[in-house]
């Protein structure tokens, strides 16, 4: 099988060469299956002939035949040519092969010759190397000895060389030399000669180290020298820790402590220039020396940076602590609140310079401590400003008090300058607050480095400025106002009433506008973001209103008391049984009306009129009829019947039934009428109670009648509800009549005449 297939392949290759395509034959089978195709492989001459004979005429056959003969002939000649050509090629190939046979035979001879030569050479070479071997070993040994000798020479010369280096201060070279020899010396130290050398070297190196240390200690040398020193010492296996310590101790003495300066800015400046900059220098050189060393040095140095950094931190911290305590003490001395900018600038510089430390020493607590100091200083400052504001407020109150006490110029009536005083007081307070705010605002100015710290952005604005400064101040104002009410009660008005009135108005103004204005101003200036709960405006307003109310109530009380006291004295000191027939209104009543009028003026300066119940134009006349003679007749006529108790009281009882209860010391409203009503109520009630404790004669009653009528004439205009005055005066006259031994009332017309004359 294999042979046949191979045969066929060869056959195929030949076929290919000659253009006979076996494949083509099969492929073309379809079209050239035709047995009549003369060029096809399945050509069947028999069929072809039959076909021709059937189809073609004779002529055509003749033509066909001649054509075919022609083709056969040409094919024959083609074949002859081919055969001839191929024969020539065979001949030349045979010639070539014969020639090659001859050449190869010659070459074989030469090769043999070469082989024998090579064998001879090998033999020779082996013989030469055998003879040379001994000499070569000797040379190698000699060269080794030479090297050793050179090394030994180096070692022997080492002490001298080191000495020389020492003399020349070529420390670096000495150290390098020594390092090279060190291991060897160490290794051979058991041999006495080497030991000697080693000892010498040690002695020298010790000296050298000594000298280096000395140099290091002297410190006068430049940073570069210093670093070289350290480098060498480190190479000499000097313990790095000790070096760090020494370096830092050295640096400690270097960094000068700042001395107390004259003003804070100068102080901080000096502190920054002397201390902080030298500190920075120390840190930088230290880091150069110990921390940032390239790790090329051997393993022993590996943990040096960590250790060194630790030491540095401790060093910086301790120094900074000292510095900070100095700074803080100095800042605390800064008490005068006059110019805040100086302090702020100083703090800014302080803070800014510490940033340099932060850059140099990233993990250090120093900058944050510095910031803390700034924060503390700011907080302290705010406190100082609050105290300053408070004392300013108290001072201005003292001024107001003096102005009130001072004899009035131009003879103006009581409290003539009240509105001016009020406006100047509130304006000066407001100004002061604004000034303070402006000063405090410096802390948050854009160009100040610490202003973008979270504390200054948030807490300082909201808690510091808004709460503990502004809100506290407002609270203080309210509180101190309230204190005026409390402390003055027992001492009977050590505070001038006008001041009470003024403060009351001040607090009321605060409630209505000033507080919200101040707080809005603060919020705007400081862009307060309320992270933490802050006091609401309404709460403050409530407090202010409460204070205003309290002050005004107190004012009413004090003024009422003054008038009450006059009335009480006048009732208590007189012998009412044995008095003479009234001819005049008593001077006390005139005084009461005068005082009431001046109070009315005083209150009118600061408070609005207020509403009063409508009354007719002739109210004094009309109301007078309330206790006119006709009614009094029935009142004072003895009509005692046990079954009908207290006829005499009936009228007033009925009156009381329908009138509301009068609260004497009741809160007043913020207007003039209400204030005056309060004062008059207190005064008249006192009058009533005093009258009830006395016994009157006929003229005593008449005098009271006259007095009451007089009060009636003048007081109704001050109060909100004139009926109140009528009622109280009625009560007074009624009670007097009860307490009268001989109740014979005066004729109404006479009373009127007396009063009008008075």
């Amino acid at each position: 099988m294999a042979v046949s297939s191979r045969k066929r392949r060869v056959h195929g290759m030949l076929k290919l060469y000659y253009g006979l395509n076996e494949e083509g034959k099969t492929v073309d089978q379809a079209e050239s299956l035709d047995p009549c195709d003369i060029n096809g492989p399945h050509f069947d001459p028999e069929v072809y002939l039959n076909k021709l004979r059937r189809e073609c005429s004779l002529g055509e056959l003749m033509d066909q035949e001649s054509c075919m003969v022609k083709q056969i002939r040409s094919l024959d000649s083609d074949m002859q040519t081919l055969v001839y050509e191929n024969y020539n090629k065979f001949i030349s190939a045979t010639d070539t092969i014969r020639k090659m046979k001859n050449d190869f035979k010659k070459m074989e001879d030469e090769m043999d010759c070469l082989t024998t030569n090579m064998a001879a050479i090998t033999v020779f070479s082996a013989r030469i190397s055998g003879t040379l071997q001994d000499q070569h070993a000797q040379i190698t040994k000699l060269s080794g000895v030479h090297t050793l000798l050179r090394k030994l020479q180096f070692l022997f010369e080492l002490p001298a060389r080191l000495n020389k280096c020492l003399e020349l201060q070529a420390y670096a070279q000495a150290v390098t030399s020594h390092r090279r020899a060190r291991c060897v010396l160490q290794q051979y130290s058991h041999m006495p000669s080497f030991r000697g050398i080693q000892d010498d070297c040690h002695a020298i190196m010790d000296k050298l180290a000594q000298e280096l240390r000395q140099k290091f200690r002297d410190g006068g040398s430049s940073a570069k020298d210093l670093s070289e020193c350290v480098e060498l010492l480190l190479q000499l296996d000097e313990p790095a820790e000790e070096l760090c310590d020494k370096f830092l101790t050295h640096a400690r003495s270097l960094s000068a402590t700042p001395t107390a300066g004259t003003d804070i800015l100068e102080f901080i400046d000096r502190g920054c220039n002397e201390f902080v900059s030298s500190l920075c220098l120390v840190i930088a050189s230290y880091q150069e020396l110990f921390v940032n060393r390239p790790q090329e040095s051997n393993l022993a140095y590996k943990n040096i940076p960590q250790m060194a950094v630790g030491k540095l931190h401790a060093f910086v911290d301790s120094l900074a602590a000292r510095y900070f305590s100095l700074v803080e003490r100095r800042i605390q001395e800064e008490k005068s609140v006059g110019d805040n900018s100086l302090l702020v600038r100083a703090l800014d510089r302080f803070h800014r310079r510490l940033q340099a430390v932060a850059k140099l020493l990233p993990g250090s607590a120093v900058p944050s401590q510095g910031t803390e100091i700034v924060v503390r200083a700011a907080r302290e400052r705010v406190k100082q400003y609050l105290a300053a504001l408070q004392s300013f407020y108290l001072d201005s109150l003292t001024d107001v008090r003096q102005a009130l006490a001072a004899p009035r110029l131009g003879g103006s009536s009581a409290g003539g300058g009240l509105p001016e005083l009020l406006s100047s007081l509130s304006a000066s307070i407001l100004n002061q607050i604004k000034t303070v705010l402006a000063s405090v605002h410096l802390f948050t100015a854009k160009d100040i480095t610490f202003s973008n710290k979270p504390y200054f952005k948030g807490e300082f604005c909201s808690q510091g400025v808004r709460e503990s400064l502004v809100v506290n101040f407002i609270k203080f104002v309210c509180q101190s106002s309230r204190q005026f009410c409390e402390s003055a009660v027992d001492r009977g008005g050590s505070t001038p009433p006008a001041l009470l009135l003024l403060l009351s108005r001040l607090c009321l103004d605060y409630e209505t506008s000033t507080i919200s204005y101040i707080l809005t101003l603060t919020d705007e200036q400081f862009l307060v973001q309320h992270h933490s709960p802050v006091t609401a405006v309404t709460a403050l307003c409530g407090e202010a209103r409460e204070a205003a109310q309290k002050l005004l109530n107190h004012y009413v009380k004090v003024q009422g008391l003054i008038i009450s006291q006059m009335l009480r004295k006048s009732v208590e000191t007189r012998d009412w049984v044995n008095t003479i027939e009234p001819r005049n209104v008593r001077a006390v009543m005139k005084r009461v009306v005068e005082d009431t009028t001046s109070i009315d003026v005083q209150v009118g300066l600061l408070y609005e009129e207020g509403v009063r119940k409508a009354h007719s134009s002739d109210s004094s006349k009309r109301t007078f009829s309330v206790y006119s003679s006709s009614r009094q007749q029935s009142r004072y006529t003895p009509s005692y019947t046990p079954s009908a108790p207290m006829d005499t009281n009936l009228m007033s009882n009925i009156h009381k039934l329908f009138s509301e209860r009068i609260d004497i010391f009741s809160p007043v409203e913020f207007n003039k009428v209400s204030v005056l009503t309060g004062i008059i109520k207190i005064s008249l009630k006192t009058f009533l109670e005093c009258v009830r404790l006395r016994t009157f004669g006929r003229y005593g009653l008449q005098q009271i009648q006259v007095d009451c009528h007089y009060l009636q004439m003048y007081l109704w205009r001050f109060v909100s509800d004139e009926n109140l005055v009528h009622f109280l005066l009625d009560e007074i006259v009624g009670s007097t009549a009860h307490r009268c031994l001989d109740p014979a009332p005066m004729e109404q017309s006479v009373i009127e005449v007396i009063c009008e004359r008075g």
């Binding site: 044995n578 005692y640 009381k656 009630k685 016994t695 004669g697």
Partner: protein, 389 residues
């Protein structure tokens, strides 16, 4: 627990003087003295029937003059003193006397107040003796020795405090000792109180804005609270259970509580009235209950637990701690009482000058206003039970 409505009784005359019958411990009985310049003055004996809420009265004539102050003997129900005005020849003099009620007043059936017969023929008081003070000025009040045997009284007249011994069944009075207040100006005692503590050897008086304490054995001043009130001091009362505690009231509308050992500051101050406070009274048994009457026509009952003799706050016994659940509920309902106003009584329409606790029933009190209205009120039941239970 609804509280009973107050009981109101109207007198025909104006009145300032009120006292409870101190020696009486069964019947609830108050004595009221009237003020009238025209007519004969009377003493109304007002009995209150607590169960039926009915008032019955009897009237005794007090012909001597209008009554400014009345006080009942602590030993003898029938004996009382009055301070009264006499007007003679255009002079008004206040004097004081010891009286005995006629024996029939009690046996004579209690008439209803509007029985005309009784009113028409009132009986008179029997005079036992005058506390003759013509040499010392006008009497402002007479004080019986608290819990004494009815033999010693003190009268305050102008600037004198006089200690009287009553002898021979109180028909004779002799001054055993006296103290005089010296000072510039016309000093006048307005009010006083005989302390029930220290064996009844102390007296407190008020003049102007000062409160003074006196030792009756030596008749010397032992303390003085200057400017105790901003204005006139109107009344005083001793805490019946705490010997150094004293309440005062005055024209500054305040009621102040003092510890006389430390007089620089009051222990407590109340400012509830809107006008002068004329009278202050501790409850005899429960001294946290303080009653005040004022010319704002109000009576205020306050609960001053923090300065009373009652234990203040909640005391937890060991027993209470052992069983938890039950007591827990208890605690909720029984929170410690705070100092507070218990109630404000507004039945009066004129100034209230006198108030008094009943001597028989510690939960009952009377108040008297100038227009002659006497109101009998009770401590609210809720509070009463809280104090008792």
């Amino acid at each position: 627990m609804e509280d009973d409505a107050p009981v109101i009784y109207g007198l025909e005359f104006q009145a300032r003087a009120l006292t409870s019958q101190t020696a009486e411990s069964d019947a609830i009985r108050f004595l009221v003295g009237t003020q009238s310049l025209k007519f004969d003055n009377q003493i109304h004996i007002i009995d209150f029937d607590d169960e039926n809420n009915i008032i019955s009265k009897s009237v005794l004539q007090h012909e001597a003059g209008e009554i400014w102050h009345i006080s009942a003997s602590p030993a003898d129900k029938a004996v009382l003193t009055t301070c009264y005005n006499i007007t003679s020849e255009s002079r008004v003099v206040t004097s004081s006397a010891v009286w005995r009620m006629p024996p029939e007043w009690e046996s004579g059936s209690h008439e209803s107040p509007d029985d005309p017969h009784n009113s028409h023929n009132p009986q008179s008081l029997d005079l036992l003796c005058h506390l003759d003070n013509s040499a010392h000025g006008n009497a402002s009040c007479v004080l019986w020795e608290p819990m004494g045997d009815g033999k010693r009284v003190i009268s305050l007249a102008d600037n004198h405090a006089l200690l009287w011994d009553l002898t021979e069944s109180s028909t004779q009075a002799t001054i055993s000792s006296s103290a005089t207040l010296e000072g510039k100006g016309q000093l006048k005692f307005t009010s006083g109180k005989w302390s029930p503590h220290h064996n009844c050897t102390q007296l407190a008086t008020a003049n102007d804005t000062a409160i003074r304490g006196w030792d009756l054995r030596t008749m010397k001043q032992i303390y003085c609270i200057e400017n105790a009130h901003g204005q006139l001091v109107r009344d005083l009362d001793f805490n019946p259970n705490k010997q150094y505690y004293l309440a005062s009231c005055g024209d500054d509308c305040k009621v102040k509580f003092w510890d006389v050992r430390n007089i620089s500051e009051p222990v407590k101050t109340l400012e509830e009235h809107s006008h002068w406070v004329w009278s202050v009274r501790y409850n005899h048994s429960h001294d946290q209950l303080v009653l005040t009457g004022s010319s704002d026509s109000r009576v205020i009952l306050s609960n001053m637990v923090s300065i009373s003799s009652e234990p203040f706050g909640h005391l937890v016994d060991d027993d209470d701690l052992s069983d938890g659940e039950d007591n827990h509920n208890d605690e909720k309902t029984k929170e410690p009482l705070q100092d507070s106003i218990i109630s404000m009584y507004e039945e009066h329409e004129d100034s209230v000058y006198a108030i008094e606790w009943s001597s028989a029933d510690p939960w009952l009190f009377a108040s008297l206003s100038y227009d002659g209205r006497l109101v009998i009120n009770r401590v609210p039941r809720a509070l009463k039970y809280r104090i008792l239970l």
